[in-house]
């Protein structure tokens, strides 16, 4: 192979010789280095220097979002939330008289651990001291040692893994543990009459932990749960739903508890809608699919009515800030608020105010300021106060359903969890 390619090394002028290619490559790389340098000049300019009061300071906040890969449907919505949040933050900060402008620096990590680390390192090398993201717990774990060593504050709006509840580090999460939500889901299922359920859950840390918590609480109430994990990242779940149907039939369960994200949840519900066995039991869902457009399709909406589908989600019911945020996101950027949009919004606000309150670019100062600010901040995701591990300390939960409206189907919050039971504010299904 090598002899051949060497012997025929130069068929009549159709190929650039290495003497032509190396300069080309060199020019390209030099061009990138120049761009790189310009990015440094126009990019992050952190606070440390004293500046004249009239000069506006630009402070960059890094965002590592899953704009491609498995969580891309959530990531794309988050991108719009980031723009909205930064706009609001700048308006608020200027209204208080600070001559500061925040700038978002957004990078795609393709929902991978190494991508997240590369993005975090890029942000760190530009002098950014607060990074928001990444989305998945496995990604947070991969960047944790870097942010801890370099004293960079990392706020994840969506990682819920119990194994990250570590005190004294630089990782904060504006989302609470799933244990609380699992309890509410268990109470909901039990209250609605289910005594034996199949828990159909993602086989990742989120799904496994949630399913374990659910099983524990449901057993405490007196019910029985059968766990059925499904592989994540597949393009279609028809086979899994078929297995679920036969399991439901074999075990004679009253309900299916689905613990999923938006894309797989929508897929599963669409397939379940076609199965008579699965349309005959109750369905209870976690917050993952809430807000996703696929669930507003007529087929799923009808299925929801048939099985009286109810879901739980973290929510401070009647929160006017959340309603306002949702409405503005829709009118300005045309997207519906899906999961964790509110926690992301609040993460941005907290980050901005923490940087200003710290008054310096010292990571420890910003971290301390963040904890202080969060104690008294109430935003679209409610109270943001952190517990000692840097995770959201308090969370209320609501119950949602898919109801028929004039324009088709839509999500509606129909109940709230209060002191050990679900209080319904309205009856979603006749």
């Amino acid at each position: 192979m090598s002899e051949e390619s060497k012997g025929k090394a130069a068929p009549a002028g159709k190929k650039l010789s290495i003497s032509a290619l190396v300069p080309l490559l060199a020019v390209f790389i030099v061009g990138l280095l120049i761009g790189f340098a310009l990015a440094g000049v126009f990019g992050a300019q952190q606070a440390a220097q004293a500046v004249a009061p009239q000069e506006k300071r630009t402070i960059s906040i890094g965002f590592t979002l899953p704009l491609s890969g498995e969580l891309s449907s959530i990531g794309k919505v988050w991108e719009k939330v980031v723009y909205l949040a930064i706009e609001d933050l700048n308006a608020e900060v200027q209204a208080y008289g600070f001559n500061v402008e925040f700038k978002p620096v957004i990078l795609d990590d393709a929902t991978s651990a190494e991508g997240a680390l590369r993005n975090v390192q890029t942000f760190a090398q530009q002098g950014i001291k607060v990074i928001i993201g990444p989305a998945a717990s496995s990604q947070v774990k991969a960047v944790k040692s870097f942010v801890d060593s370099n004293e960079i504050v990392l706020i994840s709006p969506s990682s819920t893994a119990p194994t990250l509840a570590i005190p004294g580090d630089f990782v904060f999460r504006t989302v609470g543990s799933d244990a609380g939500q699992a309890k509410v889901l268990a109470v909901l299922a039990f209250q609605e009459g289910a005594r034996k359920v199949v828990v159909f859950h993602r086989n990742d840390e989120y799904g496994n932990a949630f399913a374990d918590f659910f099983e524990k609480y449901f057993k405490e109430l007196g019910g029985a749960a059968v766990k059925m994990p499904y592989q994540t990242g597949l393009s279609d779940y028809a086979a899994e739903v078929a297995s679920l149907a036969s399991r439901v039939q074999a075990e004679k369960v009253d309900a299916v508890v689905l613990i999923s994200f938006d894309t797989d949840g929508g897929n599963i519900l669409s397939h379940a809608a076609k199965s008579p066995v699965l349309s005959a039991v109750r369905w209870f869902i976690s917050e993952g699919p809430h807000g996703a457009a696929e669930l507003k399709a007529p087929a799923v909406g009808e299925f929801a009515a048939k099985v009286k589908l109810l879901g739980t989600r973290p929510l401070f019911i009647g929160n006017p800030l959340y309603e306002d945020f949702k409405a503005r996101l829709k009118s300005k950027y045309g997207v519906d608020a899906t999961v964790f949009c509110d926690t992301l919004y609040d993460a941005v606000k907290l980050a901005g105010w923490a940087i200003i309150r710290a008054g310096s670019s010292d990571g420890r100062a910003i971290r301390a300021a963040l904890v202080e600010i969060a104690k008294t901040y109430y935003g679209p995701s409610g109270w943001t106060i952190f517990d000692e591990s840097g995770d959201k300390a308090n969370q209320d939960y609501g119950v949602w359903a898919i109801v028929r409206t004039a324009a088709g189907y839509d999500f509606k919050d129909v109940g709230v969890y209060e002191r050990g039971s679900i209080v319904f504010l309205e009856k979603p299904y006749p």
Binding site: D236, A239, A242, S243, S246
Partner: protein, 319 residues
């Protein structure tokens, strides 16, 4: 009572038809051009998204229109790849590994181009194209047998796969173009000497393969619950597995492979779950175990399979 009945059987049939439309073009394209095309998943993805954009931007409800548009789109992409990348590389006598990596570069480019197109479409209509729901085509009827509804995606798949299969069979066996394709596949040098215009045959084959895979993508949008730009990538390993069972050259073995893998993935996992308690999250595991078993027990004599003779006796005999 078979585990998962009746849906596991129906799903097996459905997936068999999908794998036919996805993997047979892959085998055909490799056989004729000897290029291991990583960007095959782009044909499928662009087929899906042609249907989705027609539905979301133009309100198209017709399967036929979507299928024709997707065929043209997928075929054009395949043809473009050939003209812009594979042919120049062949002329520079690049080794197959290089062409494969070039196709990988194309794969990345097309993937992110699709994300960008979805973004632009969102900017125009404010609809989310990154995650799109199932499309209900108006021109495919539902069929009722006894008190049983045959899903319209199954009907459309049956129709499309039968049409494709028959057309391909007739093409390859009965027409001179098909003979030319087979000649180019079996012995390119001899084919050229015999006066067969290899370049024209290659262009036609790529167009056909890209188009067929794209039509498969349109069918996917009527079956799957949610479609994302990564949907095609998530199943490309299975598609390749089916083609590899066929040794990448034998169309009949590819069809058998499609049957084997679709059964394993639907009935097999249901059986394992019901009788052995193996969690359903092992489904992809079953696919690869099936592939490896077939490859080891009956290695396809494709490109150059099988042990050298000297070692066959020692390693348990047989091919």
């Amino acid at each position: 009572m078979l585990p998962g009945y009746p849906y596991s059987i129906l799903n097996s049939l459905q997936y068999f038809l999908f794998y036919l439309l996805f993997s047979v073009p892959l085998t055909l394209s490799y056989r004729t051009s000897k290029v291991l095309n990583f960007s095959h998943s782009n044909f499928i993805a662009y087929g899906m998204y042609t249907a989705i954009f027609l539905h979301g931007l133009a309100g198209n409800q017709s399967f036929l229109v979507a299928a024709i548009a997707a065929f043209l789109a997928g075929g054009s992409i395949a043809l473009l790849n050939h003209l812009a990348v594979f042919r120049p590389l062949e002329q520079r006598r690049a080794s197959p590994a290089f062409v494969m990596i070039a196709s990988m570069g194309l794969w990345i480019m097309y993937n992110y181009l699709l994300y960008m197109l979805a973004d632009v479409a969102h900017a125009f209509t404010m609809k989310n194209f990154i995650s799109y729901g199932r499309i209900d085509y108006a021109d495919i009827p539902d069929l009722r047998i006894l008190d049983f509804t045959v899903d319209h995606s199954l009907l459309a798949s049956l129709a499309s796969a039968t049409a494709f299969g028959t057309a391909l069979y007739l093409l390859l066996m009965k027409t001179s173009l098909g003979r030319a394709m087979r000649a180019v596949a079996d012995n390119p040098a001899l084919a050229e000497i015999s006066g067969i215009p290899r370049e024209k045959v290659l262009r036609f084959t790529w167009f056909l393969c890209g188009g067929a895979a794209a039509v498969g993508g349109v069918l996917w949008t009527s079956f799957s619950g949610t479609i994302t730009p990564a949907s095609a990538d998530a199943m490309i390993l299975q598609v390749f597995a089916v083609s590899f069972i066929g040794g990448l050259v034998s169309l009949s073995r590819t069809i058998l492979g499609a049957l084997a893998i679709s059964l394993a993935e639907n009935v097999g996992i249901a059986a394992l779950n019901t009788f052995f308690g193996i969690p359903t999250s092992f489904r992809p595991f079953i696919t690869f175990v099936t592939l490896l078993t077939v490859l080891i027990v009956s290695p396809p004599l494709g490109a150059a399979g099988g042990l050298p003779y000297r070692f066959r006796r020692k390693v348990g005999g047989g091919r």
